[in-house]
Symmetry: C2
Subunit: 708 residues, 2 copies
């Protein structure tokens, strides 16, 4: 709840008028990186070949980022990025989150269920084809035509090869479309993870803050054909003590920013989306906390979900604070005013030119995208709760159907995929296009433990919040619940379903629609029964919110290119980007700290009471670790959720650490970049080296990393 003082506001306002990116701002694509400006700002000398090497050494791992650090497929990411893998490989008796995972031999490295890793190998432009596909269409027809064309493009480029994935990426909110081609690894093994507490020291309280004392790092290894993948292009491990002011580049897949949204769109987030998402998440948090206190077993089951939920919640809180901060909103308002005035000047000049030349063709063709977006907001405000709770995938919020129940999610995928696969690929919901079925299937067949007690908490919470937010008299809620209460229905479904068994899922997938419709599994029957209502919610949203927003956003993107040239970067979309900055502390109100923390600082901060208890093995190694070794550091690069695990590299292409967090104040960077506030938090290669060598007996990996 801290607010910036006048001094800080003045500093922000110095950046306010800029809708064009300034020094160190921007999550740039690898095919439009501002090489000259970065070199000038940082005093470096990188080139396109350097960029290509960095790209091919960078890995997308689930929703995280990672970097290759040896020639034999070894990859560094964050520990929190392997938390689900660790949980899936653990039992209450053998709990790797508690003990760490330190395989003595490469053969003991264990496969992460459902884990996939990807390397971006090619980028090509498909803007013309995508724009042509939607030309002249409105509403849902527009969305479907675009989705179908994307599916065709992906299919043409990648069909039939399980080792590649193709993805049509919308950039600049539809201003550009690129085809990204990935080398895909579906055999990803866990090579090392520290004790969870070593990575999460300070827990939720220290999350999104600095100084920080966390070794939030882990290693995975890419396999192909049952053997470690050969990865000749990789980052060189540099565990030297880092130096303040060093220029760094961070390569990763930041998830989503909303920097190109209009003020009216931001106010919908502030007034409707964030409050609903946060309020219901907060209740789930309360339910899970109490659940975890009921027994050792529940504590084990709920640990990973609570960490994930608290992270999402705290991020949302930072965003709420940004959008309710009068100074920040003034900065955004002024930036929009600058953009609008440039746009109006160009429109006026164009009209004058056309009038002089007698050209009447342009009249009324462009419209005012800001007004169009404003007009969509009442509808978006009205439809958001139902869309978020019954369908998810709103692109703006975090709420999704089923409350995170794995069983619900599998049943939904099975039912939808069976129904969709009856149609030609181009007419399906886009996530079930032929080009995407391999991904769907691997998620579905992965072996994962299912905890009915947790599933019950999630389903019950979701059903009761859906009833509450849509109201009990909403016909869709009546369809969802019938005459059962959320408690009764969720218990019946979770207890009765057999979907926890991968063989059952596989049989239902392979049996197609006939098998689904013949199934007496209560979860499958339930999902079948709610398809009409939920699909209607989605098509309504697509027709009345998504499609008109897409068209107006494309107009805005075009206007932005016209006003600011190529000094703009696209909003983050979960695809590979490069950002740059320096190793640097922070000195604004509410956020004052130096650039580094050390192990000595960790021993100081420890109280012994959770979450400020040092992990036992780490504590036992206290005397072996040089106390002046840097643990974590702050850098000024422009990152956001999804950047977790991003390799932080120097001018020489050497890896210095892995990005794992930022600060609460930095959460405003979802909506706008502020050089003075924005700080990413990095675990250093030095800390990782010390942990591997001095704590976890992983000399094997230290050697592989080339440390002498």
């Amino acid at each position: 709840m801290r607010h910036l003082t006048l001094a800080a506001s003045a500093a922000i306002l110095a950046f306010a008028a800029a809708s064009a990116a300034r020094a160190e701002e921007g999550m740039w694509t690898f095919d439009n990186f501002p090489i000259a400006r970065a070199n000038q700002t940082l005093g470096t000398n990188i080139d396109q070949a350097w960029l290509d090497r960095v790209r091919l050494s960078s890995v997308k791992f689930g929703g995280c980022s990672a970097g290759i650090v040896s020639g034999e497929g070894l990859v560094m990411t964050n520990n929190h990025c392997v938390a689900t893998c660790v949980a899936n490989l653990s039992t209450q008796a053998v709990n790797y989150a508690e003990t760490g995972f330190a395989p003595r031999t490469r053969e003991e490295e264990l496969k992460c269920p459902g884990g996939t890793a990807e390397i971006l190998t090619d980028i090509s432009d498909v803007t013309e084809r995508m724009h042509a596909a939607g030309a002249g269409l409105e509403g849902q027809a527009f969305t479907q035509a675009r989705d179908a064309e994307a599916g065709r493009i992906e299919q043409e480029a990648c069909a039939g090869d399980a080792t590649v994935r193709c993805q049509v990426v919308s950039l600049y909110r539809g201003g550009q479309f690129k085809l990204y081609k990935y080398r895909r690894y579906t055999d990803v093994r866990l090579a090392w993870a520290p004790e969870d507490r070593a990575a999460t020291f300070g827990g939720d309280l220290d999350n999104f803050s600095f100084p920080r004392f966390a070794i939030d790092a882990a290693f995975i290894r890419l396999y192909e054909n049952g053997a470690p993948a050969a990865t000749p292009t990789h980052f060189k491990w540099n565990a030297d003590k880092p130096v303040e002011g060093t220029p760094v580049f961070v390569a990763g897949s930041p998830g989503a920013t909303q920097r190109l949204l209009s003020m009216d769109q931001l106010m919908t987030l502030r007034d409707v989306v964030l409050p609903m998402d946060q309020l219901i998440a907060s209740e789930l948090r309360g339910r899970l906390i109490r659940f975890s206190e009921e027994s050792e077993e529940n504590a084990f089951i709920a640990m990973d979900p609570i960490v994930g939920l608290e992270n999402t919640y705290k991020r949302g809180l930072g965003r709420m604070r940004a959008l309710t901060d009068p100074d920040f909103m003034r900065m955004k308002t002024e930036a929009e005013a600058d953009f609008i005035s440039r746009w109006m000047a160009r429109e006026a000049a164009g009209a004058a030119g056309r009038a002089a030349s007698g050209d009447a063709s342009h009249a009324g063709s462009s419209g005012t995208p800001w007004l169009t977006l404003a007009a969509i907001q009442p509808t978006q405000r009205e439809l958001y709760p139902a869309m978020a709770l019954l369908e998810g995938g709103t692109g703006v919020g975090t709420t999704s159907p089923g409350g995170g129940s794995q069983l619900f999610s599998w049943a939904r995928t099975l039912v939808r995929a069976a129904q969709e696969r009856e149609k030609p690929s181009a007419q399906r919901l886009p996530e079930y296009a032929d080009s995407r079925l391999a991904g769907v299937q691997s998620g579905l067949f992965a072996e994962r433990p299912v905890y009915p007690s947790l599933e019950q908490v999630r389903m019950e919470w979701w059903l009761s919040k859906t009833r509450e937010w849509l109201t009990v008299d909403d016909p869709r809620v009546r369809g969802l619940l019938g005459r059962e209460s959320p408690e009764q229905l969720s218990a019946r479904l979770v207890e009765g379903t057999k979907l926890a068994d991968p063989a059952v899922r596989r049989a239902l997938w392979e049996g197609g629609l006939a098998a689904i419709e013949a199934s007496d599994d209560p979860m499958i029957r339930y999902l079948l029964s709610i398809q009409d209502e939920t699909r209607a919610v989605r098509s309504d949203w697509e027709a009345r919110v998504e499609a008109p927003t897409s068209r107006a956003s494309e107009q805005l993107a075009a206007a932005r290119f016209a006003a600011y040239g190529d000094a703009v970067y696209p909003d983050a979309t979960g695809t590979l980007r490069l950002t740059y900055g320096k190793i640097e502390g922070s000195d604004v109100p509410g956020q004052r700290f130096g650039a580094f923390t050390t192990f000595a600082g960790l021993w100081d901060r420890a109280t012994g009471a959770p979450p400020f208890d040092v992990a036992p093995k780490l504590l036992a190694a206290k005397d072996r670790i040089d106390p002046d070794t840097v643990m974590d550091m702050a850098v000024s690069s422009d990152t956001i959720g999804g950047s977790s695990g991003s390799p932080v590299v120097n001018e020489a292409g050497e890896i210095l650490g892995a990005n794992f967090d930022s600060t609460v104040l930095t959460q405003r960077n979802a909506y706008g970049y502020d050089r003075n506030v924005n700080r990413s938090v990095i675990v250093t290669t030095g800390a990782v080296t010390a942990a591997l060598r001095d704590v976890y007996g992983m000399e094997r990996l230290v050697e592989e990393l080339g440390v002498e």
Copy 2:
């Protein structure tokens, strides 16, 4: 999440410019009721004598309202107003919430622990004394001088008589001060309560909505000297079928409105106060829901707290919706603009007049109250979380220290009172002035069951949320927790304290500061240890937020009288008011319903699954109840939380029902009145009569009510 359509917005805007009250708007004091306008609007013929009788028949019961309905102290209020009493009188084995409470004889009526009821007997003006006390003072000195003067006035008027209570009431945000004198009853007994489900049918889902099917009524009885109080002035019971369009008056003690706040103040509520309060309440709700699912015992313990919490939460949600509704905010903005323009016109006229007469004395003396209030907001935004979490009593939010733990609250009162009683009355924190000690003491000595498991949930939640919102590095948080975690500390305090025993509390109270300082009770020691930090938070808030806000609000109040004359009513302050309207349905988007519901409608809506299960005794009486009997009705009177239990009376002074709720859309009436939307929900005397006679065998009371 429903939003008003354009049609509804237009209807609102027709009322927008009015800062003066229109027909049926206003929670009026009994000494400034607009008799002529009400009579004209409604076609009635009430007079001051009528008002006096209604006032003397109206009762304040805890945070609720009530009406006397017999000459022997019988009082009708809502069942939810006696829920705490019912819970305190129940055990898991004898659970009156489940069975209803239907004493066969008057002697079996049971005393409500800590219950007090009050009747407003006198009102006198003390504005001059209060304004003089604060004259020339700033900051905390201003607040203290005012509080001390109020204490003196109350002491002078009421000292030494336990049957009266005096209260200096600030009206029009300090524009007027009145001395209210009450006849006080500390022996209040429960005379009848229905099965809880009969009062709460539809639970949280039907709460704040209509149509409604709830018998949310109960009876208490006032006692004096061990015998039923004689109450010759009371409402006549009228159980006739109500008629749509009938003029009604509602007398009660609405808790708090914020209709006189400036837009900047409203934005602080929207951005900071409501989000924090709602988010942490939502987490507590999750913890309590899960807690209640753990066992029958926990379900019993948590029932009352969950109902209370959900009610507060839903009300907050309605308010968030109002303040994030663009149409409603536009209406408020336009009303403020009208006010400011009138103010500026008067200022200009005044300056011109003074200039013409050569008078320079006025120059610069008045300032601009809107700008003053705007300048306070950044401080209020910054200080609110600490003030709310560590001290409470912010006047703007619902969060308070201790998380609702009864043990914490007792310890806090004991420690503070002991410290304060060492000083002269005028120098104390105002809640410990001599005139208020009797009330403090009766709350402290009341016999109430304490459930350590629930206390633990509340304390743990409060400590962890305080740490989260103020951050772990806040020195006050370090003082609060030391090296313990919230889980450890709350467990230690709750397990170790002996304060659940009323004899222990009494001994500590009577022993004064010496006994407190010598106590080894961990909760007492804990409260002693945090006094410096928490008192500092309060004095900082009072100096930098409360005092300057009070002064600016008084200027605004004066300006409002000048601009709109006496056509304004004061914000609700938990004191007795009268509001008027008609029995009437609603026909705006998101809120369309007729004026009445019947028992037939209840049988229709019942599904059997909670909370749509009919209470067993009520269900068993189905055939005995005339299905066309009206259960609940909607009226257009202007009410808000605290109005619960308010007698609804006709022109003849006969009671037709008890107010028990309003709608979610109506929650906007905290900030502004909207005739088209505003509806109160009333349980009818007809429904209560049927319940007493046909369901609960309370012919004894039916006879006392004079029903033939």
